[in-house]
């Protein structure tokens, strides 16, 4: 197969699968699930084929819009960055699909679910392979819809329907900035194609506008990768089925912002001020999310905040000088172990009859040994136990911050390194160790192979992925230097784990109670207030203005004026002949006077 066929098949197979399910096999869920899973396996195979391509590879573009000089094509950029990302997306995608075959086995909306997954795969592939901003934006939006559909899969639950809506809207706010950013970049460089922008970026004179443009482009990433201040949607997105959380809200889609920044790292590099801002926002997100994670009780929410925190790392790296590669490296490793953790939590939830509160679990070590061990490996990778993949990539980021002399950001990163082991230990200890605290936990048993096999594969990847970076080799590799950073992060690991163990081993309820963290710094409440202000107060005000000012002025007042003058004028018509004669005479005299004089 030539590169064109491979690339286009990768992109279009999932679309075809979604279309077939929607139009044809909707009624038979089993077939739909198989079609969807088949398509993702095929794309995984094709993605491996793609690895053989050189870094400069590209597929023949399709024209989408063409107006003279202004042209938007659907072109596929197949450089190593894209190749590597495709492996992540299709690899984890495949495992999640397989896992879902078990997890969603009895769901009423199974066909719809798999159609949604296929649509997501299509959209995500589009982002990865995009060779220009417009195309990226198209798939950016499509990914948002896929996420909307999948979060709201159980749409008859209020919380799920609300979470879906919230996710989409918060992303839209980010996209608002993203689009302006794209427009500004276009104005500055005259192109929307990454290659051409890279060439033209050196000639850009207007530094302020460039900074603004980059920051606005970054807004897209803030939305999609759930950075401060638009992070609020991601924890809520856990209302979706757990495989979705694993695939979309942990491994791939939320990483799209990071990927996009890596894709345009030359832009970020050219805008100093913007880059600093990006790094700080990333660092702040990492820290705040980690703090919030320490006080969550829902197993998926803990993981969600940890995802936020890790995404903060990756974003932070994108803002650092020469940090982009480290960020991508972390994205790569994180995808595996976070997918593992989510699917693991999914297995737990499945086994506990959809119980998500860690305080109602406990003692799962004996009940679900495979899940326990894989989850342990995942946790180890996340808290960066030396030797696991997570260790290498996190070190790379912290080192990059150090070398950039960006000590503020570095400090934030180190602080997170202390917190991560703490809250993960808390989660692990409470959920898996000790004794079952509820009947559901007591009755839990190991999941079927279709679910644990993916866990096992992911567990392997969680350890070794750092050593087989493949196409991403240039982005990161295993290398250890003794340095202040390394010492501190190892200290963080030890301190965090010990503190977590000390505090939580054998507890039946949370001994620590920090309302500020538990309530996520009250940011949701703040936003709700702002939304209320706009949606209800400003909207109502304008509605009132429209109803009681504009409408009367443009409609009722003229009508009233015409009507009332009609009523006044008809009074002149008194019906009395003498009055008529008088008016006639008066009119005649006035007219004669007017004309003659």
């Amino acid at each position: 197969m030539d590169v064109n066929t491979i690339a286009w098949l990768i992109l279009l197979l999932p679309l075809a699968s979604a279309a077939v399910i929607l139009l044809g096999t909707k009624k038979s869920a089993g077939i739909s699930a198989l079609i969807s899973t088949g398509s993702v396996i095929a794309t995984l195979v094709l993605s491996f084929l793609l690895l053989a391509q050189p870094d400069t590879a590209a597929a023949k573009p399709l024209q989408w819009l063409s107006l003279g000089d202004f042209e938007v094509t659907i072109g596929l950029k197949l450089d190593s960055l894209a190749q590597g990302m495709m492996i992540i997306v299709t690899g984890i995608g495949t495992l999640v699909h397989v896992f879902s075959l078990g997890y969603m086995h009895d769901d009423a909306g199974k066909a719809r679910f798999f159609a949604g997954l296929s649509q997501f795969m299509f959209s995500m592939t589009g982002i990865v392979l995009a060779d220009n901003f417009a195309m990226m934006f198209i798939f950016w939006e499509l990914v948002g819809v896929s996420s909307y559909i999948l979060i709201g899969h159980w749409y008859d639950k209020d919380s799920a329907a609300d979470a879906a809506k919230k996710a989409f809207l918060v992303n839209r706010i980010g996209d608002f900035g993203f689009m302006i950013g794209i427009l500004l970049v276009w104005v500055l460089t005259g192109s929307i194609y990454f290659d051409e922008i890279a060439k033209a970026i050196g000639g850009v004179q207007n530094a302020n506008l460039l900074n603004a443009a980059v920051l606005l482009v970054f807004c897209g990433a803030v939305g999609k990768s759930a950075q401060l201040p638009l992070h609020v949607w991601l924890p809520d997105a856990m209302e979706g089925p757990t495989p979705v959380s694993a695939l979309i809200h942990a491994a791939t889609m939320v990483a799209a912002g990071v990927y996009m920044l890596a894709r345009v790292s030359f832009l970020v590099g050219a805008a100093e001020m913007a880059a600093d801002t990006i790094a700080i926002i990333g660092g702040a997100t990492a820290l705040l999310a980690a703090l919030m994670a320490t006080q969550q009780n829902d197993i998926k929410r803990v993981l969600a905040y940890s995802t936020l925190s890790q995404l903060g790392y990756m974003i932070m790296a994108q803002g650092l000088h020469d940090g982009s590669d480290a960020g991508m490296f972390h994205l790569y490793t994180h995808a595996w172990f976070k997918a593992l953790l989510f699917l693991g939590s999914g297995a737990v939830i499945f086994a506990c009859h959809h119980e998500q509160d860690i305080w109602k679990m406990g003692g799962l070590r004996q009940k679900m040994p495979i899940t326990f061990w894989t989850f342990l490996i995942g946790t180890a990778a996340l808290i960066a136990v030396p030797g696991t993949s997570g260790f290498w990539s996190k070190e790379a980021i912290l080192e990059a911050a150090w070398h950039d002399h960006n000590y503020l950001v570095w400090g934030l990163g180190i602080a997170v390194a202390f917190l991560t082991p703490f809250y993960m230990t808390r989660l692990f200890v409470v959920a898996f160790l000790g004794k079952p605290r509820t009947k559901d936990a007591d009755h839990a048993h190991e999941v079927s192979p279709i679910m644990w096999v993916p866990l096992a594969i992911l567990a392997v990847m969680a350890v070794i992925s750092a050593y087989i970076t493949g196409p991403l080799e240039a982005k990161g590799h295993v290398a250890f230097h003794m340095s202040l950073t390394a010492i501190l992060s190892l200290a963080g690991l030890v301190v965090g784990v010990l503190a977590g163990w000390k505090l939580y081993a054998g507890c039946d309820r949370d001994p620590v109670n920090i309302k500020l963290f538990a309530n996520k710094f009250y940011l949701d409440e703040l936003y709700l207030g702002i939304v209320r202000l706009f949606q209800d107060f400003v909207g109502m005000t304008f509605d009132a203005v429209d109803r009681y000012l504009i409408e009367p002025i443009t409609v009722r007042l003229p009508a009233l004026a015409a009507m009332s003058s009609g009523y006044v004028l008809r009074l002149l018509q008194v019906g009395n002949l003498q009055a008529y004669g008088f008016l006639f005479g008066l009119g005649a005299v006035v007219l004669i006077w007017l004309i003659v004089f």
Binding site: K157, I173, F176, V187, F542, E551
Partner: protein
Amino acid sequence: MTLVEFIVFAPLLAVLAILFGSPARATAIVAAVANLAAAGLMTLRFPVEVESKGQVIFASSRNLLASPNLNLAFGLDGISLVLVILTVLVTLAAVWASPAEGRIKGNVKLYYSSSLLIASGALGAFCATDLFFFYAFHELALIPTFLMIGIFGSGENRKRTAWTITIFLGVGSLILLAGLIALLVETGGKSFAFADLYAVGDKIPADAQKNIYLILLIGFGILVSLFPFHSWAPPAYAQAPTPVAMLHAGVLKKFGLYGLIRVAMPLLPEGAAHWQTLLLVLLLGNILILGLVTIAQRRLDTLLGYSSVMHMGYVFLGIASGNTIGLHGAVLLMFAHGISIALLFALAGAVRERMGTLDMDELGGGLAKKAPALGLLFGFAAFASIGLPGFANFAAEVMVFFGSFQPILETKKLGALQWAGILSLWGVVISAVYMLRAYRKIFKGPLTDKDAKAGIADLTLTERAPALLLIVALMAVGFVPGLLLKYLTPTLEAIAMSLKG
């Protein structure tokens, strides 16, 4: 008889047939299908390379008056073609989505004739190449709309609403008429033919251009519900019977925009430049102020009405930018918005028929459980209208925004147009807020009042067909915008050239 004449007069002939006793629904559908076929044929035979400004295809002309030169003249340029396609699609869907004859309480003939008259008026206005008939055909819809809202409208205020829309649009048309006549007078007043107007159009003095353009902007603006002349639209769309709402919001409203692009801008480029800032301010009123007003709506029908008004702001933005990209975006958005709003009104009609109300609080929610197909199609429509990629609306909006930034490719200094573009972009967020909120409130969430909703049935096949027709059209153009853009380019490039001066 050319195809264009056929397409304009076929609905009128159908009206006559209905008047003389032909079965109303069948006749109307036959006419609409025939029109669709004719439009398809025209599209196939439409040459993509049109050379000069104002050149029209399938031209026909019947002289009605020698002096001044008045002709019943029709022909298509790229813009007309796109709008004709829009019209025939929406007409077919509207007629199809009309209730079956037995379910109409009242004069069935009137019901179907009105839809056909509105369609014919829109087609005539889009196809006319004579200023007089351009104007005259548009007014064909006035009385049918008045009757339809008054007789078959929903809600207690329907009579007041019918009056408001009729008088408002009547006065708007008069203002427009004054502007058009002033334009005619400035060009010598000897001929109504577009070609003749274009030929002498460049010589209008700058002062006259400014004055006339302002009158035309207000006149056309009223017809398009440009802020603050929009008050007629939302209640009218909300209360009109489904086919009228579809045709009016989907098709007829595009007349004003078409007029600005086809008549006002090429003939009065200096006027257009002079009033650009005013237009920008007003269109921001449409997008931001009315967008927020839309959010505050509690009923689906008024919400759709306001959203339709709001979206006009983007078309105006494309028009205000005045360059090729922006104009393409504007025309494509006219098409896309027309289809998507018609679709939304059709589906809202289906909801109303089932639930007896469109008040979102009364509707409760969870309707998707009872009527999954309705929920799915509404979802498509909602996402189309908020500009999701894959639908024509997205392509159009993207072009509008690129168009608003195109003028500073050289200078790289943000001006009024660009700021307007940036602020308008916020409208994309606003429209997502209200559409998703409505979708969420009506279709998602747990099913309330289970007993009351027990008898709710999903869409029948007859009801699905028009919706699918429109969705397919939206997606086809959304995936391959070039399908329509190629016809537009020669015409719009000429207009953009004349605007540059």
